[in-house]
Structure formats: C-alpha cells, structure tokens
C-alpha cells in the first residue's frame, strides 16, 4: 500500500485545470452550507458575550471561503484529475458495519459476527468462499472468547429470543 497515491497523468484539459480541486471546493461549500444554515436559529451574540451561534457560523463561513478558493484555484492551476471511485469496496465494507449495527441486538454476536465478516469479505474479488466461511466462524469464536468471556464486555452473544429462553 503506497503512502502517496500515484498521481494520474497531468494532461491539459479545457478551462477546468484541476477537477479534483473543483470537486473538493464544491464539497466544502456544501458542508459549510449545512453548518451555516443549520445554526441560523441560534443566537450569534455580541463579541463581548458570544452566543452559541457564533462559532458554527463563523467557522462555516471560513470553510466556505476556502471552498471558493479551491474552486478558483481549479481553473488557474494544473492539478489532479478525479480518481476512479469504486462501488464494490464501500458498499460491502460499510454494508457489513451497518448490518452488524442492525443485527447485534436482536441476533447477538453469534450471528452478527459471521454475517459481518462474510459481507465484508465480498468487497474483495480475491476472497475464496470456503476460506472466508471457516475464517468467519473462527473469528467469531475468538471474539466471543476475548470480548465477552475474557474482558466481560456486555455485548449480546446469543440471539435475544434464545436469551430469554435460556
């Protein structure tokens, strides 16, 4: 895993010279807008007694200013092109975490654990089904032993239904 991503070849293109900076500028503007408009209802206060709205709005304006700077810059200076975005990685890796969040309470680590491992593994085309299956079982057993038994963290292990039963 290289520390610095390989820079895509820089070729002159139209008026927009750095698509990455352009997108970054838009991104900052969007976040600044959320921060600014989201805190409009809060009192700005006076300088001698600043209110709860002072910090969010001031900082949001500064973020917006930097966003604009990046937008301007992207037309002036050569910069990186936008990298390719992959879908498979984010969908399965983040999906695995979400699935874990939704299943841990009702189903317990016993089921949520292997589920998360299996779904996450699907993010990599090089994963081998049987290997992952065995690995998921071993990992779950190990984490139950470590987190629940050894460290005594109150994490649900069994499905909630069984728990009431046992």
């Amino acid at each position: 895993m290289p520390l610095t991503a390989p820079q895509p070849a820089r070729t002159p293109r139209g008026a927009l010279k750095s698509p990455q900076d352009f997108a970054a500028g838009l991104f900052l503007l969007a976040l600044a807008a959320i921060g600014f408009f989201g805190s409009l209802g809060l009192d700005f206060g006076r300088l001698s007694s600043i209110g709860p709205g002072f910090m969010p709005r001031t900082v949001a304006l500064l973020v917006a200013a930097l966003g604009l700077l990046l937008l301007v810059q992207s037309f002036l200076w050569e910069g990186s092109r936008l990298e390719r975005w992959s879908l498979r990685g984010p969908v399965f890796v983040l999906g695995a975490a979400l699935l874990f969040a939704w299943t841990i309470r009702p189903l317990g680590l016993l089921i949520a654990g292997p589920l998360a491992v299996l779904v996450a593994a699907a993010a990599d085309p090089r994963s081998r089904p049987l290997e992952v299956l065995i690995f998921a079982v071993v990992l779950t057993a190990a984490s139950i032993a470590l987190f629940s038994v050894l460290l005594g963290l109150p994490i649900p292990v069994w499905p909630a239904v069984l728990d009431r039963w046992l």
């Binding site: 970054a24 805190s39 709860p52 993010a123 994963s127 998921a136």
Partner: protein, 500 residues
C-alpha cells in the same frame, strides 16, 4: 534534581505494580502484533484497541494505551524493513535502507539496531519528559484564556504546515473538525446545535467513532483499491544482534537521531513526523561515502529509527503539560483520557502525580519491553506478514464494529462509523488529508470556550490577543509559520520530504 528522583521513584512505584507491568506488557505485545500488519497504522490500531481498556482504572488504561502506541510504532518499522511498506509517515525513511539490508540477508541486524536505537532514544526522551514536565506545566498555569487560544491556533497551524498536500485543503480540514466539534449541546446555554433533531447527536460526536470511521474504515477502502503488492523478504533474517563494528557505526547516528527527534517531537503540530527525515538527511550529509545510503547503510536505519521513537515519546509533552495534542495519535489519547474522565492539561501533574509519573515510568518500561519482546518474536512477525489482506480486512471490520459497539453499547455508534467511513473515503478521493480534522475536532470545544472567556474579559475587544505578550508572541510565530510554508522554496522542499 532531588525532586526529579522523588517523582520518578513515585512513578516507578506505580508502574512496577504487578498489574500495571502486565498491562504495559500486554499493550506493547498487542500493539506490535496489530502494528506489524501492513496497512494498519498506529491511529487505527489504537482506535481498534481502545475498548480493551474500558474496564481498567485510568492509570492502567493509559499505561496500556501508551504501550500499544509504542508497539504499533515499532511494528510499523518492522513492516517497513521486511516488506518495504511503511505503516505510516514516520517509517517511510526506514524502508530506504532497512529494506535493502533485509534483501541482503541482514534483516535481523536492521531490526536489531532499530530496536536498540529506539530503546536508547526512548530512555533519553523519557528523562526529557520527566525533566520538562514540571517547568512546562507551571509555565502553562500562567496562561490566560487568550494565551491558550493563541497557543491552540499555533498548534493547529503547525499541524497544517506539516500535513501532506495542499495548504488550503489542510486548513479546511482543521476548520471542518472545529465545525464538527460544535455539534451537540452548547455548554453555556444548553441549546442544541446542529443536531438536526437527532437525539443521539445531543452529546456531540463520539471522538473514537470519527477516528475509527475516517482512519480505520476509509483506510480499508483505500487499500482495497490498490492492487496488493506485498513481497515479504525472502532472504534469511540472519542474526539479530549487531556486531561491534556495526554498533560503532551506529552510535553516532543513534545519538544524533535521538536529539533531532526529541526536539522536533515537542513542537505543537505534528513535529515528530519530521524527525526521521531530518535524521536521514543529516546522516547522509555527514557520511564519508553518501552513495552507500539507499543501498543498505546501517546508519540510515539507526538514525531515523531513533529519531522516530524519540519524537513519538516527546510528543507526549504538549499533551501532558498543556493538554494540547500535537498529532492524531495524541488526539486519540485525549479521547481515551476523557473516557476515563481525566481532563488533560497542566493541572494533571500537580493534581494527579501518580498518573503523570506513573505514565512516564511506564514509558521507559514499555521501551525496555519493546526491546525484549520484539527481537525473539521476529519469526512470528514474518509469518503474520504473510496473512493476505483479503483475510485481514474482514477481521478489522469485525473488531472495529465490536469495539465501537462496546464504547456505549450503542448500535447507533456503529452506524455512525459506517457513515464516517464513507465520509473519510470521500475525503481521500478529493485529496484531503484527514489527520488535521481530528485535531480540529478535539481542540474545537476548548478553543470556543477560551475564545468566549477571553472576549468576555476584554469586553469584546479582539486586541486582547495582541496586547498580552504571551498571546502576541504565539500569534507572531503562527504568522511566521504560515508565511514560511507559503514560500515557494520551502513549499518545494516540503513536497519532496513527503514524497519520501
């Protein structure tokens, strides 16, 4: 001087208790174990292992966490030498000569000298922390609200200058962090800010959640895109202990690296990252035959590795004496302290001497353990390095999810980690470096508080920041740092340095 010895003996009394010794050992061992895995840096390691310390008392927990940190740091160097993959920025330089040595069948000696150099550097910098801790925190106690605010501005600016990539983007990251820190209930008026009606946001964003999302998960997504090119060195590891001639060759570099690294590590803002680079440049310049560098010169491992560890150690100084984290790892440490309801800052040393001195003593013990643990375990590390990434990352996903869930027994936190993972992925794709975001996030609330208090006292007059000598000096230094960083010559050098 007598005080120092009294304090250190108090510290050793705390650190040498059987329980703390065991925690330190466990921390170093697990930290090395995870840190060795390529693609898992110290921040991700600490974020992942944070839940392990929940059940422990504060002193023990911090001792274990610092152990994890040294372990992760040294584990990163092991990976740099054996696989040519730097676990993090500070290990980049080690790949240059360390991996060459490994290819020549001298991996053992490279690892050995790295461990010995790190130990010597750790011993020196621990003494430095012990000596500087008290005077620095008494200076910090003189600080008024305005001075504190300016100090934080300076620290954040340093962090910006030392981050990779474009300056406006790094500044934007800090500000975004500050903006995110305002989410939650306002301390003064108890009004909800930027919570958008979500009840879970009322307490603000959980620091570990953001760190895990933006560092842990986004890192996985980044790694999945890079084709896996990992070549564990095939040559023999060879003997571990350097011979007399190699020790003689390394003595100078270790001493110089220790000094350089210690000084740079104290800088607010991530100074520690510069240590290894500076040491490497220095050794290359001093060498009789500079062409040996890059072809397996032992000085090129001994110097930077010592600087690396010295800086890792002295970066605790701003955290413990001023309550200001100089880098992302220390920001996580603050998060950990807050979980254990310790408020970092100059008052720690006087109010909780057993915590401060216990940690200092444990630092030295941790370094000793690093030396004892790592050398015999090299064989195990080599085998660990052969675990393919396709198995590693699902395990990381599972452990992160369990860890975050256990933080508050909250499934919502796990959902947030996924959201911040996506956020971190977007940041990476848009060319933002996420480390400054964490610093802004951790310092944001404190900065707002100090700003509010400073302006209250001055009745809304911003000149208070320039009238007070301490504050004015800090702001002038800040301005100088910005101007310097923007100069074309420095800018180019800065880019070179981060290219490795």
């Amino acid at each position: 001087m007598a005080d120092l010895f009294d304090n250190l003996s108090l510290g050793f009394a705390v650190a040498l208790s059987l329980k703390n010794l065991a925690l330190c050992f466990l921390g170093v061992l697990i930290g090395s174990l995870i840190g060795v895995l390529p693609g898992v840096g110290p921040v991700a390691t600490i974020a992942m292992l944070l839940p392990l310390t929940f059940g422990i008392d504060p002193v023990g927990a911090l001792i274990m966490l610092s152990g994890i940190y040294y372990g992760a740091q040294y584990g990163g160097s092991t990976t740099a030498i054996l696989v040519n993959i730097p676990g993090e920025a500070t290990a980049v330089v080690t790949t240059l000569d360390g991996h060459q040595m490994a290819k020549q069948g001298r991996a053992g000696i490279a690892l050995g000298i790295a461990a010995i150099g790190s130990f010597i550097a750790g011993t020196f910098s621990t003494l430095l922390i012990a000596a500087l801790g008290e005077p620095l925190s008494s200076v910090a106690l003189l600080f008024g609200f305005a001075d504190y605010f300016s100090l934080m501005v300076l620290g954040l600016m340093f962090a910006v200058v030392l981050a990779r990539g474009s300056l406006p983007k790094a500044i934007a990251m800090i500000l975004l962090g500050v903006l995110m820190s305002t989410v939650g209930t306002d301390l003064e008026t108890a009004q909800e800010r930027l919570t958008f009606g979500v009840p879970e946001f009322a307490d603000g964003f959980e620091f570990a959640v953001i760190a895990m999302g933006v560092f842990g998960f986004a890192e996985i997504l980044k790694n999945l895109e890079a084709p896996e090119a990992r070549e564990v060195v095939k040559a023999r590891i060879g003997r571990l202990l350097p011979g007399p001639s190699e020790l003689r060759q390394s003595a100078g570099p270790i001493a110089r690296g220790t000094l350089v690294g210690s000084v740079l590590g104290v800088l607010p803002g991530n100074g520690a990252v510069l240590g290894p680079f500076a040491s490497y440049m220095l050794e290359k310049r001093l060498a009789a035959d500079p062409s040996r560098f890059g072809a397996g010169a032992i000085e090129g491992v001994a110097g930077p590795e010592s600087a690396n560890n010295a800086g890792a150690q002295t970066s605790f100084i701003p955290l413990l004496t001023l309550g200001i984290p100089p880098n992302a790892v220390m920001a996580l440490m603050i998060g950990a302290m807050m979980i254990h309801s310790i408020i970092p800052g100059p008052q720690i040393i006087t109010k909780q001497p057993e915590l401060f001195w216990g940690m200092v003593a444990a630092m030295w013990i941790g370094n000793l353990m690093l030396l004892i643990i790592n050398l015999p375990l090299v064989g195990l590390w080599v085998r660990l390095l052969k675990v393919p990434y396709r198995l590693m990352f699902p395990a990381i996903v599972l452990f992160c999810s369990i860890g975050i869930y256990s933080l508050n027994n909250s499934a919502f936190d796990v959902e947030m980690v996924a959201a911040f993972g996506l956020f971190g992925y977007v940041l990476v794709k848009l060319g933002f470096e996420p480390a400054p975001l964490l610093l802004g996030l951790v310092l944001g609330r404190l900065m707002e508080e100090k700003l509010r208090q400073a302006l209250l006292i001055s009745r809304g007059d911003f000149m208070t920041f320039l009238d007070r000598p301490i504050s004015a000096t800090l702001l002038i230094v800040t301005a100088l740092v910005i101007v310097l960083a923007a100069l074309p010559a420095v800018r180019r050098r800065r880019e070179d340095a981060f290219q490795g």
